[in-house]
């Protein structure tokens, strides 16, 4: 999409770039993203290499200190961040996408059999605790990579999105302009895509942010239970390792706290963006 066109069309963006929460969130998010993208380039070691003596606090040589075994925490964190972003991106996209499709369809065909069936499936998925399902599914794969992990999470995390999107669609579809399209015999896909989805764009974007964070948190929980990727590194694995190797009890706070704090800050920044956007898209909130 060309930018000039975009500006004209979306006055909302003006509010977005002037909203303090959005700016703050974006700056933090971008910094962490930059750390994930460029950090590994500055890493002097391999994340699994014994880089130096163990138990080293942060220093010039080891920016985030070293682990009990002497691995460089900075290297581990930046490589881990990459995977964490990947998980959030892939898992969040899948969850949003599946949730949207099911929610739209169910909402559009509300009251009909398709709706009943889709909502039934959604409820079944909602009832089976996601984490429990993940644990089982994970144990299924002989080896779990970061990608397969995110796909599994994405495929189980869409339920609330479907429900929410369904009710949004329900309220939208009875509005005039949708009825107009329907009268003019536009195809269903076109109605959903042009009338309903377009009007829900802001909503969908915020759903995506929440799915993004949700996927990351689910991945971290799995990793803590030892059901994370069996290959590679991620922020959750760094944290799990730190906990398992007694980093906290042994006073290696840089190993235990930094990755967790970074993760929390990342998610907080996303929430800030989300809240900010909420204010942008719902002018009522702007007045606050």
């Amino acid at each position: 999409m060309a930018k000039s066109e975009f500006w004209k069309k979306h006055e909302n963006l003006y509010f977005a770039v002037t909203n303090g929460k959005v700016i703050f969130g974006l700056i933090v998010f971008m910094s962490i993203l930059a750390l994930a993208i460029f950090g590994p380039m500055f890493a002097k070691y391999d994340y699994d290499e014994f880089a130096g003596p163990g138990y080293m606090p942060p220093s010039k040589e080891f920016w985030f200190g070293t682990t009990l075994m002497g691995k460089d925490v900075f290297t581990r964190v930046v490589f881990g961040l990459r995977s964490t972003f990947l998980v959030g991106f892939v898992g969040g996209t899948i969850a949003t996408f599946v949730g949207l499709i099911i929610g739209f369809l169910a909402g559009y065909y509300s009251g009909k059999l398709a709706d009943e069936t889709l909502m039934m499936i959604t409820n079944i998925f909602l009832v089976i605790p996601t984490l429990a399902l993940l644990i089982i599914l994970s144990a299924y794969l002989p080896y779990r990579g970061i990608l397969s992990q995110s796909v599994i999470i994405g495929l189980t995390a869409w339920t609330w999105t479907a429900r929410a999107v369904r009710s949004q669609t329900l309220s939208l579809k009875n509005q005039e302009f949708v009825n107009l399209s329907r009268i003019s015999a536009a195809p269903v896909t076109k109605i959903i895509a042009e009338d309903i989805a377009a009007n829900m764009f802001s909503y969908v974007f915020m759903v995506y942010i929440i799915q993004f964070t949700g996927t990351i948190l689910a991945a971290v929980s799995l990793e803590f239970l030892g059901l994370g990727p069996t290959q590679g590194i991620s922020l959750g694995l760094v944290m799990q390792n730190a906990v398992n190797w007694n980093a906290i009890q042994l006073g290696l706070w840089w190993w235990a706290i930094i990755p967790g704090l970074l993760l929390t800050i990342l998610i907080v920044s996303l929430y800030f963006i989300n809240t900010g956007l909420d204010e942008v898209f719902n002018p009522r909130l702007r007045e606050m």
Binding site: L126, V127, V268
Partner: protein, 329 residues
């Protein structure tokens, strides 16, 4: 009303059927052999392993055809028999779960309800008080952004080890024996507090944020403005806003249950706190089909019942639902 309720119950029953079928199927198709696992670390005498392996496999009925196993599963389910645990052999799964689930209930129910109540109150406060909101909102975000286990580990370190105010593991002191006495109850609560606090605080953040946003929406809505123009007191407007804001929070309760249970699972593991969490993890690691199924069954029933309750409550507090559900609006 009756039609709505009947339909709901029917849908719940079908959901239950499918959920239970999935519950039966998944662990059974997991790779690995539970019996081998049971014996894997046994340093036995020469050839002794083969002898008992055959014996045990037959006694669990694992040598039967799958369809027969599935059918038997339903039959015994209605008899309340969930089979014998392989990992906690020879204890029946029902007993294993019955004895563990009390700890989950004691942890989950208070933390869910109290955090829901406190979160809504705090969120509502934050929603109408701009000054407080500035400091409270980031704090809520911090809470809800923390992975349960990480929060638990930090809490343990500060309030269990650095400041040794609370015990950091197990459900009661090593020297205690369960008894209905003040001493024991205090000791139990002392151990219960940190895991409870973890669950309470992390959940609190989410509820507070939800309520804060709802209040801001409602306060800015047309009816609020209308009431304002009619000269209604701010207090009254807030009351109405809160009432309307609570509705989605009730739905949220049902939707988030799965997540909360997952949080409780990891929290229990950090605190070596007994309950289904640790049992489920052990059962999965040891591929104890029967126990895995049993744990899931209980979780499914718990979530279904909670959802059902929420549906009913919702039906009373918001009559619109009955219609919107079937799209009659």
């Amino acid at each position: 009303m009756k039609k709505y309720l009947g339909k709901k119950i029917f849908i719940y029953l079908i959901t239950f059927f499918f959920a239970v079928t999935i519950d039966w199927a998944i662990p059974r198709f997991m790779p690995g052999d539970p019996i081998q696992m049971l014996l894997s670390r046994f340093q036995g005498m020469e050839g002794g392993r083969e002898i008992i392996q055959a014996q045990i496999t037959a006694s669990f009925g694992l040598d039967r055809p799958l369809l027969e196993q599935y059918f038997n599963f339903w039959v015994s389910l209605f008899k309340g028999d969930l089979g014998t645990s392989i990992y906690a052999f020879p204890k029946p799964v029902m007993d294993v779960i019955n004895q563990a689930i009390i700890f989950d209930i004691l942890l989950l129910v208070p933390s869910i309800l109290l955090s829901w109540i406190a979160g809504n109150k705090l969120g509502a406060f934050s929603g109408v008080n701009k000054k407080a909101d500035k400091y409270m909102m980031p704090f809520f975000y911090f809470l809800t952004s923390s992975p349960y286990f990480w929060f638990a580990v930090v809490v343990v370190f500060f309030f269990g080890v650095q400041l040794p105010w609370f015990p950091i593991s197990n459900a009661y002191s090593a020297t205690m024996r369960p008894a209905f006495t003040i001493d024991f109850i205090l000791d139990f609560l002392h151990h219960w507090f940190l895991p409870f606090l973890t669950l309470f605080l992390v959940q609190l953040g989410g509820w507070a944020i939800g309520m804060r946003n709802m209040i801001i929406y409602e306060m800015g809505s047309n009816y609020s403005k209308y009431m304002e123009s009619l000269g209604a007191s701010e207090k009254l407007i807030r009351k109405y806003a809160f009432r309307n804001g609570v509705l989605p929070q009730v739905t949220g309760l049902a939707i988030r249950l799965g997540n909360i249970i997952a949080g409780a699972l990891t929290t229990q593991i950090v605190f070596s706190y007994p309950g289904l969490g640790f049992i489920l993890l052990k059962a999965i690691q040891n591929q104890d089909y029967f126990l895995v199924q049993g744990c899931f069954l209980f979780i499914i029933i718990f979530v279904l019942l909670a959802n059902f309750t929420v549906d009913i409550i919702y039906m009373f507090i918001d009559p619109r639902v009955r219609f919107s559900y079937s799209g009659e609006v």
